[in-house]
């Protein structure tokens, strides 16, 4: 967990969004925009406008200007970059006082990213926004949500982000909420499989000078990168095995549904780790997923195989197959086989 500066104030404009991300934790929440917006008092950490997608809210420029007029020195926007890719939009926001852009990018090419967002063209738009932000002198950070579909192809991302002037990168483990819950089988990766790929990518990013973080992963699966973990606004859960873990106090935990689905076999107590002290201000730009849809209790969580073995001693002999005969039944062979293997008895073989 990073030693933090004061957390950013977050102003959510509403939950409407022009992407349909496969892991969206807000899916299921009402989509109306927030009408009674109140800007926080200016503070050291600044303010970030979030959503949904704040870029589709016509009030954004005005709100940024108001925040600047109110004395906020650091003003960010958490965005998928689609609506903000419209010509002049980022420039207008920069003139109004925007200082940083917090962009979601889930792959290093359009095929990967657009599948995750459910929006063709969203990758190209996000890169346009990133380029415009950098050209306007804004600081840019990127979040990538770790999924089944992108963990194998994270490797090209660090170079791509570093070469485009991105100041910081965070890999987020999806929450078991919203669309990530309804599509958990398709979206939520097995942590012990996916996280090593993420850690390799973070290591590569650091070598390129791209400061990197991870959020939402249990510390025991982060090895030497545990110190890069960012805090979560809403803590996850812990398994029984975590009770004695010396690092529990600094650990993000794991979603309770994940443990119910897969068991706790991937988790193990780990020695305490030193907290990261560098780039604390940069870390504040990663404001997280915001309000999440409530957990749906009506969706079943399939139990892990270890649960099936519990009843093993009382499970009887298996039922026979539909057309099965006793092993001791009289045998049919020789000429009788013509009934089921006629081709082997035909004059010409090899014509099948």
């Amino acid at each position: 967990m990073a030693a933090r500066s004061a957390a950013r104030e977050v102003v959510a404009l509403g939950r409407a969004c022009d992407n349909a991300c496969v892991f969206c934790a807000q899916e299921g929440l009402a989509r109306e925009s927030v009408t009674d917006l109140a800007l926080p008092e200016p503070g050291a950490a600044g303010v970030t406008f979030a959503g949904g997608e704040p870029g589709i809210d016509e009030r954004l420029e005005e709100l940024v200007a108001k925040a600047r007029a109110a004395g906020h020195a650091r003003i960010g926007v958490q965005t998928n970059g689609r609506a903000l890719s419209a010509p002049g939009r980022i420039e207008a926001l920069a003139r109004a006082g925007l200082t940083d852009v917090h962009l979601s990018l889930h792959g290093s090419d359009a095929r990967v990213h657009d599948w995750h967002t459910g929006a063709p063209g969203s990758f190209d738009a996000a890169l346009k926004t990133l380029a415009a932000a950098r050209a306007a002198g804004l600081r840019a950070v990127v979040v990538t949500v770790l999924t089944r579909s992108n963990f194998r192809v994270l490797a090209p991302l660090p170079r791509m982000l570093a070469s485009r002037g991105v100041a910081g990168w965070c890999i987020d483990v999806p929450r078991w909420r919203g669309r990530a819950q309804t599509h958990a089988d398709r979206v939520v990766p097995r942590l012990a499989l996916a996280l090593p790929f993420a850690l390799h990518a973070i290591d590569a990013a650091e070598a390129l000078g791209l400061t990197s973080f991870v959020r939402g992963a249990p510390a025991c699966l982060l090895g030497p990168f545990a110190s890069r973990a960012l805090p979560e606004s809403e803590p996850r859960a812990f398994a029984d095995v975590c009770t004695s873990c010396p690092s529990r106090g600094a650990c993000a935990g794991v979603d309770a549904q994940y443990v119910a689905r897969f068991g706790a076999g991937e988790l193990a107590p780990r020695p305490p780790f030193a907290r990261e002290t560098r780039a604390p201000e940069l870390a504040t730009l990663f404001v997280g997923a915001g309000e999440m849809a409530p957990l749906r209790e009506d969706l079943p969580v399939h139990p892990p195989p270890e649960r099936a073995r519990v009843s093993l001693p009382v499970m009887g002999r298996p039922a026979p197959a539909h057309a099965e005969v006793p092993a001791s039944a009289p045998k049919q062979t020789g000429e009788a086989l013509k009934a089921i293997l006629p081709d082997l008895f035909a004059g010409k073989r090899g014509e099948r």
Partner: protein, 310 residues
């Protein structure tokens, strides 16, 4: 191409596996019919024949079929549960006839579970003795494992155990449960979800790969093969354009399989491996298409790797 034919010698068995895909029908091959099938494989230019069942070692014609097939230039293998091969002498006699390659079916290194899955107490111990006999006879020994609900989370524990105890085992085969036929159809408690085996299979494959051993995985879609898509049986057959013929001792009779692609989900359309992936066997009938997801690794690398192996 290395096409291989499957010959079911008998359909009865001395075990009673909970997920058996080819249970007893009462049919068995006689030597004349078996030779006809072997001749047909040879005329098609097949590489080899696999003697299977039921439990093929219960057939009295194993040695004669083997000699005939070897005489026709075919490589001969057997898929067996090993129970009969535990007795001294039988493995050596098969080897002497030219049958030198055995796939021994063992589904768990946990003795109690293996005996439960095979329906016969003591079958684990017999399988271990069979491995010893086959090793002593100098045979090539592979282990075949059906992935099912009860072993899905310890496939890695299995390979570590077998390799540790029998270092001569150089190749493993995993068959994802076929819930469409046999006893798996009537004992649905054996059926798992794909995510149940994903991690343990990946760990097992990595362990074998690191130790210089090979493996094949059948009926597992490529999104569940992590970095080992080139070891998928279906993908290899798709890339190499291979076929296989199975002579079933039941109403299905002779089946020539040339298409190894099964059902896909809409999500697969975005996947870079769609064209070389076998998809989901029995497709949504039991397995859940919602478990399939696209991956975006380059298919060309996998194709090249398979062609380089050939």
């Amino acid at each position: 191409m290395a096409n291989i034919g499957y010959l079911q010698l008998v359909r009865h068995c001395n075990q009673y596996c909970r997920f058996c895909s080819n249970p007893a029908t009462g049919w068995m091959l006689d030597l004349d019919t078996a030779k006809r099938a072997v001749d047909d494989f040879a005329e098609r230019g097949y590489f080899g024949v696999i003697l299977t069942g039921g439990e093929p070692s219960l057939s009295p014609i194993v040695a004669d079929v083997t000699r005939h097939a070897v005489g026709r230039g075919l490589h001969v293998r057997m898929i067996t549960n090993g129970s009969r091969l535990a007795q001294p002498g039988l493995a050596a006699s098969y080897v002497e006839a030219g049958l030198r390659h055995f796939h021994v079916s063992i589904h768990s290194c946990r003795e109690e579970l293996e005996d439960f899955l095979t329906g016969v107490r003591g079958s684990f111990a017999l399988a271990m003795q069979a491995l010893e006999q086959l090793g002593a006879a100098g045979a090539t020994v592979n282990v075949n494992t059906v992935i099912n609900r009860f072993n899905a989370d310890h496939l890695d524990e299995n390979v570590r155990y077998f390799v540790g105890r029998f270092p001569f085992i150089s190749h493993f085969v995993w068959n994802n449960l076929d819930p469409s036929m046999g006893r798996a159809e009537t004992n649905r408690d054996t059926a798992h979800r794909l995510a149940d085996f994903e991690l343990s299979l990946a760990r097992a494959m990595r362990f074998l790969h690191k130790s210089g051993r090979s493996f094949r995985v059948e009926r597992v879609p490529l999104c569940y093969m992590t970095e080992f898509a080139h070891c998928s049986t279906e993908t290899r057959k798709i890339v190499k354009g291979e076929e296989r013929i199975v002579h079933f001792l039941d109403e299905k009779g002779t089946v020539r399989q040339t298409d190894f692609r099964h059902a896909k989900s809409d999500a697969c359309k975005a996947c870079t491996l769609d064209s070389i992936c076998g998809g989901l066997f029995e497709l949504g009938e039991h397995y859940d298409l919602a478990e399939l997801y696209p991956v975006f690794v380059p298919a060309e690398d996998i194709v090249r790797r398979i062609r380089d192996d050939a």
